[in-house]
């Protein structure tokens, strides 16, 4: 039926977890559209430019531009709404920052029905595509949220579609591949032609046969003559991490300090590709597919929800939480992070909400058993890093490779002493970033101080020269006068 080569990857991730998948909870639940009564959109913490009237009571149409971020990405208004208020809050990121939250009352429950942007031709050139991605608010939907158009630069040759949703319980990407296979193919086609990509590898895990079938049955004529292939990975966490995926699918090891595009490899999440297809048709990114799951959710489900949907509304749509003490995590059980109840609404990167009973772990001292090192997908020695960080030796931890840590949490899962390893690493890296920022600031301040000192010196010298010239001039004038008077007196 298909002309595409389907190969099993022979490479194996060092470490990682063969985790229980938990995807069965939501894999077969029908996709439900969800429109909440209010939206809570967190505004960027960096500089941004409002593109709509935000005064209280003003009405914004569905699909109308809301604001532009510092990276030039325009966020569209997901629904026709009325502005309720602007409040202070914290972002939904793993390191929450102070931000402002735009509260909107939804007036019309449907997403934009007419194209909000002029549809592009089926063969858009790179510049148009780049512009469109930015104005349609296209960011990486896999979790990193990197602006899509910024990836499309340099000499690209390979497109890798990251359909390896390795984290347990997550089904959003798989659902996108099942529901939106033609759109994904369309986006692949457009990207391959626009950037003259020679190769496309669609990477899936062996536990998502439905997604594979959906993609294989819908392959378009247009791509028949292209080098498109499927690579199936053994399902193992975290094989879907970008660098790990490239290693498993292509055998290329991308340095931690570089981005894959620097090596000509473009990695996209299937959700991003589906959104790109919509953007080409003129629809900005307004909705995304979210899995709401976990042992504490009464009826786990998969929802198509607008950006800004309050976390509570998502959980309520999934039947709410079981009675008892629970924690809600943004993202999956491993890579996710606990979010407070007053969190703003979901953003474009919210692929999963996971709720589980809150268990107090009792920790014991590290005995260097090395199970964490066996689980580490980048072959760090977490026990050594942990020891260094607990003794405050950040430099030593960096020397031991802390910067390579994916924060995937595999070590946490196997640690017999139940130590919060990943938390410690995250704290260490945050501290390191703060220190290096501080160092950069200091360097800049030093430069500016020296530049100013040089300028003041130069100005003083110039003033001195001017004074000197003037004095000379006046002296020579006096000289002349004296000479003249002397002549007269003779």
């Amino acid at each position: 039926m298909t002309k595409y080569a389907t190969t099993l990857s022979t490479r194996r991730l060092p470490g990682g977890l063969s985790a229980p998948d938990g995807k069965g909870l939501t894999a077969q639940v029908p996709l439900r559209p969800l429109t909440p009564e209010t939206l809570r959109i967190a505004l960027p913490t960096e500089r941004y430019m409002p593109l709509a009237a935000w005064s209280i009571g003003s009405i914004i149409k569905a699909g109308a531009p809301l604001f532009m971020t510092a990276q030039g990405v325009i966020q569209a208004c997901p629904r026709t709404v009325q502005v309720t208020q602007l409040v202070d809050g914290m972002t939904l990121s793993s390191i929450p920052e102070r931000c402002q939250i735009l509260q909107l009352t939804v007036l019309e429950p449907s997403p934009p029905t007419q194209p909000c942007l002029a549809p592009l031709s089926s063969r858009p050139d790179p510049a148009d595509l780049q512009k469109r991605a930015a104005e349609a608010g296209l960011v990486g939907l896999g979790g990193a949220g990197f602006p899509a158009h910024q990836k499309w630069s340099g000499e690209l040759h390979t497109l890798v579609v990251n359909g390896a949703e390795c984290e347990p319980f997550l089904t959003a990407d798989e659902r996108v591949m099942r529901e939106r296979a033609p759109a994904i193919w369309h986006a692949i086609d457009v990207l391959m032609r626009a950037y003259s990509l020679t190769k496309c590898v669609i990477v899936l895990e062996d536990n998502t046969p439905d997604a594979l079938a959906a993609l294989q049955t819908t392959h378009p004529e247009a791509l028949q003559d292209r080098d498109v292939s499927f690579t199936i990975l053994e399902s193992r966490y975290p094989s879907g991490a970008e660098r790990q995926l490239i290693w498993l699918a292509l055998g290329l090891e991308i340095p931690t300090t570089a981005r894959p595009v620097e090596y000509g490899i473009l990695v996209h999440n299937p959700g991003t590709l589906a959104a790109l297809a919509d953007a080409i048709d003129g629809y900005p990114l307004t909705d995304r597919i979210v899995t709401v799951t976990g042992p504490s959710i009464i009826s786990p489900g998969v929802f198509r929800a607008p950006i800004g949907t309050p976390i509570n509304a998502l959980i309520a749509a999934a039947g709410g939480l079981q009675p008892g003490d629970h924690q809600v995590r943004h993202g999956g059980p491993y890579m996710g992070w606990e979010i407070p109840e007053e969190a703003p609404g979901m953003h474009a990167m919210t692929h999963c909400l996971y709720a589980a009973p809150a268990i107090a772990r009792t920790t014991s001292p590290c005995i260097r058993c090395g199970l964490c090192a066996e689980a580490c997908p980048v072959q760090l020695q977490p026990q050594q890093l942990f020891a260094a960080l607990s003794h405050g030796q950040l430099d030593h931890a960096m020397h031991e490779g802390l910067a390579h840590c994916l924060r995937c949490g595999a070590c946490d899962q196997v640690c017999p002493s139940a130590l919060p390893l990943t938390d410690q690493f995250q704290t260490g890296l945050t501290r390191q970033r703060a220190l290096s920022d501080e160092a950069k600031r200091a360097d800049r301040a030093r430069e500016r101080f020296n530049a100013r000192a040089r300028r003041l010196e130069r100005q003083a010298a110039e003033a001195e020269t001017r004074r000197h010239t003037r004095r000379q001039q006046s002296e020579s004038a006096l000289e002349r006068i004296r000479a003249a008077r002397a002549k007269e007196s003779i």
């Binding site: 102070r98 347990p168 059980p333 899962q413 301040a445 000192a453």
Partner: protein
Amino acid sequence: MMPSALDVLTTILAFTGLLAVGGLLLQTLSRRFQVDGSPLVAKIDACLPQTQCGQCGHPGCRPYAEAIAAGEAINKCPPGGAETIAALAELLGVEAMPLDETHGTTAEPMVAVIDEDVCIGCTKCIAACPVDAILGASKRMHTVIADECTGCDLCLAPCPVDCITLIPRSRPANRISTPSVGRLAHD
């Protein structure tokens, strides 16, 4: 048995020779393996926070670095605080000491903000800024380039209308602690 004069002489000569050889060796090695030839002042300057605030009594970080190199105390930098003192102590091989609080106390990093409605455009703050982080012209409103401001507060005093204030430089709040992943049942 008394050692003969010759014995004593040989011993003295042998030890002197040994010490001389050892001394020469040490000197050669220390020259040969001298770490990083950059001058001391630059290294000291690298430890200082570059706030250029002058709280140490010198007109900037570099002059203070020169003074430290000439033997001044290392604990006169309030913005750097204990970390800077520790770094300097390690660099210079001296004992770390508590901050000399006559020069001020360590506070969180600040940034200057000009109340633009009040500013009269006198340019006095522009002249005072040690890192040229204030933009403006005579009779025109001034503004602080927040990214370049070191929060030294030197612009506060010259302002005739007191329109400059220091506010904390916003920093990301700490990650919400997530100690309990709630391990997945494996069995």
